[in-house]
C-alpha cells in the first residue's frame, strides 16, 4: 500500500505544479522580454530604411561619424547603468566632464606631460564621484539631490579654474593628446590596409567597446554584480543577507564619474581644446540612452548591451533627421518621444506594458 500512496502524492504534486507554477523561460521568451533586443531591432530597421532613403547615410564616412559621436555618450551610459541599477541617478556626469577637461587642459597648458595631465583629470573626476557616493551611500541622502548639487559645483569649478577661457595651447604633448582623441583603426589606404568598405572606427568607439565588454562580463560573471542587482531591487534584503550595500553604492557613483572622465578625455583629445562648457546637457542625453536601452529607473535592472544600444539609437535618430533634411530643432521632440515610447515598451514598474502584452500573446499562441 505504502509505495502506491506515495506515488499518488507524487502525481498530485506534479499536477499541482502544472497548474500553479510558471514555466521556466525559454531562450526565445527571454529575448522577446528584453527591451534592448527590441531597440536593437528598431535600430537595424532604421538603419536599413535610411540607407535606402538617403545614400549618403550608409557611407563608411557617416558610419565613422555616428560611431564616434555616440561613443562618449555610450561610455557614460555604462556608468549611468550601474548607478540606475542601484535605484539612483547621476545628474552630475555632464559637469564632471567639464571639470575633467579643464583640469587636464590646465596641466597641459602648464607644459606637464600628457599622462600627468590625464591622471590629474581622472583624479578630479573620481573625486566628484567619491563626493556623490559618500553622501548617497554613507549619509543616505537622495541621489537626485546630491548629484544635482555636484552638477552645479563641478561646472562652477570648471568655470573658475579656466578663468572662463578656452584652453588650447597645450604645450609639447599636444600632438599625443590629439593622437589619442583622433586615432582611428583600421585605416584606409594609403595609410593602412583596410579596403574602402570597412569604416575607420575612432578610438572613442574602441574604448567604448572594450568598456562595454568588460562591464558586460562583470554583470554576468561576478558576485559584485549580483549584489548590485539585489540591492537595486530590495536594499533591505541585500543588507540583511550581509551584502555590503553602502560600499557597492559608493563604487557605482565612482564608476559613473570614471566613465564621464574617460569620455571627457577622449573629447578633449578629439577637439584639441578644453572648454568649461563641455558636456552641458549631456546628463539628460545619457540618462535617455540608458533608459531607452532598458535600464529600470526604479533599480534592479540594466545591461551593458542596453546602454550601448540605447545611446546608439539616439545618435542614429539625430543623424537620420539631419540627413533627411529635417530642421535640427525637431531633434528634441523626436528624442523625447522615443524616451516615452521606450519606457512604455518596458514599463517594468507598473501598468501593463506593450511588451508584456505581446509576450503573453506569444506564449498563449505557442501553448
Amino acid at each position: 500500500m505504502k509505495p502506491s500512496s506515495a506515488k499518488v502524492i507524487e502525481e498530485t504534486h506534479a499536477a499541482i505544479s502544472d497548474v500553479v507554477s510558471i514555466r521556466e523561460q525559454t531562450t526565445f521568451q527571454r529575448l522577446v522580454a528584453n527591451q534592448a533586443i527590441w531597440v536593437a531591432a528598431a535600430l537595424l530597421a532604421l538603419v536599413i530604411f535610411m540607407t535606402w532613403l538617403e545614400p549618403s547615410f550608409g557611407t563608411t564616412d557617416n558610419v565613422t561619424n555616428i560611431t564616434r559621436n555616440f561613443a562618449p555618450l555610450a561610455i557614460m551610459s555604462l556608468g549611468m547603468t550601474v548607478v540606475i541599477i542601484t535605484g539612483g541617478i547621476d545628474l552630475s556626469v555632464g559637469s564632471v566632464m567639464g571639470l575633467v577637461a579643464i583640469v587636464t587642459g590646465l596641466l597641459l597648458t602648464w607644459h606637464h606631460s600628457w599622462y600627468v595631465a590625464f591622471a590629474a583629470g581622472l583624479l578630479a573626476g573620481l573625486a566628484c564621484g567619491a563626493f556623490n557616493g559618500f553622501f548617497v551611500a554613507y549619509v543616505g541622502m537622495p541621489s537626485f539631490v546630491v548629484t544635482l548639487g555636484m552638477l552645479s559645483i563641478a561646472r562652477s569649478l570648471a568655470v573658475v579654474l579656466s578663468g572662463n577661457q578656452m584652453l588650447y595651447q597645450f604645450g609639447p604633448d599636444a600632438p599625443i593628446v590629439r593622437a589619442i582623441g583622433q586615432a582611428k583603426w583600421p585605416l584606409h589606404a594609403p595609410a593602412g590596409w583596410a579596403p574602402r568598405w570597412i569604416p575607420e572606427l575612432s578610438s572613442h568607439f574602441w574604448v567604448m567597446l572594450i568598456l562595454a565588454f568588460i562591464l558586460g562580463a562583470v554583470f554576468i560573471f561576478t558576485a559584485w554584480a549580483r549584489h548590485l542587482y539585489a540591492l537595486g531591487s530590495n536594499e533591505n534584503a541585500a543588507r540583511l543577507t550581509g551584502v555590503s550595500v553602502d560600499w557597492i553604492k559608493f563604487q557605482a557613483y565612482l564608476f559613473s564619474s570614471f566613465t564621464a572622465s574617460i569620455a571627457s578625455l577622449l573629447l578633449l583629445g578629439y577637439s584639441g581644446s578644453a572648454i568649461n562648457a563641455m558636456g552641458t546637457g549631456y546628463e539628460l542625453r545619457v540618462i535617455a540612452g540608458t533608459v531607452i536601452g532598458g535600464a529600470n529607473l526604479m533599480g534592479g535592472y540594466g545591461t551593458a548591451f542596453g546602454a550601448v544600444i540605447g545611446s546608439a539609437f539616439l545618435e542614429v535618430i539625430r543623424n537620420a533627421l539631419l540627413m533627411a533634411g529635417i530642421d535640427s530643432n525637431w531633434q528634441g521632440a523626436f528624442v523625447g518621444m522615443f524616451i516615452v515610447i521606450a519606457v512604455l515598451l518596458g514599463m517594468q514598474t507598473s501598468g501593463t506594458s506593450l511588451l508584456a502584452a505581446i509576450r503573453e500573446w506569444i506564449v498563449w499562441k505557442r501553448s
Partner: protein, 246 residues
C-alpha cells in the same frame, strides 16, 4: 543542554522597556511558538536573538557559549538564521541566486573569480528537493507564490546549516494552501534536527507544529507550556491578559 538559552533578558529603548527579565530555552530539534499581542515584545525578542542589537541586561547563550551580538552577521556565525516577515528576497533574481545571495560559490582565480552558476543551481535544487518544495532554482522570485518564497528563504537558512531558524510571521499574508506548505517546511526542518522559533498570530498554525508555546505580554513572559498541556482558549486568555499567568 539547550541549544539556545535566554537568561533574564531585558531591553530598553530610552524610557520604553520593551522586554523585562525574560528567560527561556530552546532545545535542538524543537519547534517553539512565540506568541503575544502587538507590542508584547516579540519582534524585539527576535531582533535580540538575531543579533540586530544587544540586550540591556541578561545574556544569550548559544550552545553553552555566551554571546554578545551587535550585528546579524555575528548571530549567523553561531548558526542562527532569520526568515523575515517582509521576506528578505530580491525579486529580480532567481531562486538559486537568492539562496546564495551574499555567499556565492565562485570558481577560477583572482582577478577572474567568477560565479559558479551551475553548482549553485544544483545545490539549490537539492535544498528544494530536501524541503519537498515545488520550487525551481532558475525561476524568478518575482513570479513565485508566497509558499515558494518561504521555501527560498528557508533554503537560505538550510544552506548555512543553521541550528536555529527564527521565523517571523511566515504565514501572515498567504493563502490557506500555502500555509500548509510552510508548516510542512517547518516540520522538515525539525526532522533534520533544526530548531525553529515560530513567531505567529495564527493560533492553528502554532498548535499544529509547535512542541512548546511561550507567551509574552507587555514585555514579560507569562507562559511557557508544552503544546499538549494547553489549549487555544488558554493561550488566547494569556495573550489578552484575561488569564494573568500560567
Amino acid at each position: 543542554m539547550a541549544l539556545l538559552d535566554v537568561r533574564s533578558i531585558s531591553k530598553s529603548f530610552g524610557a520604553i522597556r520593551a522586554l523585562s527579565d525574560v528567560s527561556f530555552s530552546v532545545d535542538a530539534g524543537e519547534v517553539v511558538g512565540l506568541m503575544g499581542d502587538n507590542g508584547a515584545g516579540k519582534s524585539t525578542m527576535v531582533k535580540l536573538i538575531a543579533g540586530n542589537f544587544p540586550p540591556t541586561e541578561g545574556a544569550i547563550v548559544v550552545d553553552g557559549k555566551t554571546c554578545h551580538f551587535h550585528r546579524p552577521v555575528e548571530a549567523r556565525a553561531e548558526g542562527i538564521e532569520v526568515v523575515y516577515q517582509e521576506l528578505a528576497l530580491a525579486d529580480n533574481l532567481t531562486a538559486a541566486e537568492n539562496v546564495f545571495l551574499g555567499r556565492e560559490i565562485k570558481k577560477g582565480f583572482w582577478p577572474f573569480r567568477i560565479l559558479d552558476k551551475q553548482s549553485m543551481i544544483e545545490r539549490a535544487g537539492e535544498l528544494f528537493a530536501e524541503l519537498k518544495s515545488e520550487t525551481r532554482p532558475r525561476d524568478l522570485v518575482k513570479k513565485m507564490s508566497g509558499g515558494q518564497r518561504q521555501a527560498v528563504a528557508i533554503a537560505r537558512a538550510r544552506l548555512s546549516n543553521a541550528k536555529l531558524v527564527l521565523m517571523d510571521e511566515p504565514t501572515a499574508a498567504i493563502s490557506v494552501r500555502q500555509v500548509a506548505e510552510v508548516l510542512e517546511l517547518i516540520r522538515r526542518l525539525k526532522s533534520r534536527g533544526v530548531s525553529v522559533m515560530l513567531i505567529s498570530h495564527r493560533m492553528p498554525d502554532v498548535f499544529s507544529v509547535c512542541d512548546r508555546i511561550i507567551v509574552l505580554r507587555r514585555g514579560s513572559k507569562v507562559a511557557d507550556k508544552e503544546t499538549a498541556t494547553t489549549s487555544p482558549e488558554q493561550i488566547t486568555g494569556l495573550i489578552t491578559g484575561a488569564i494573568r499567568e500560567a
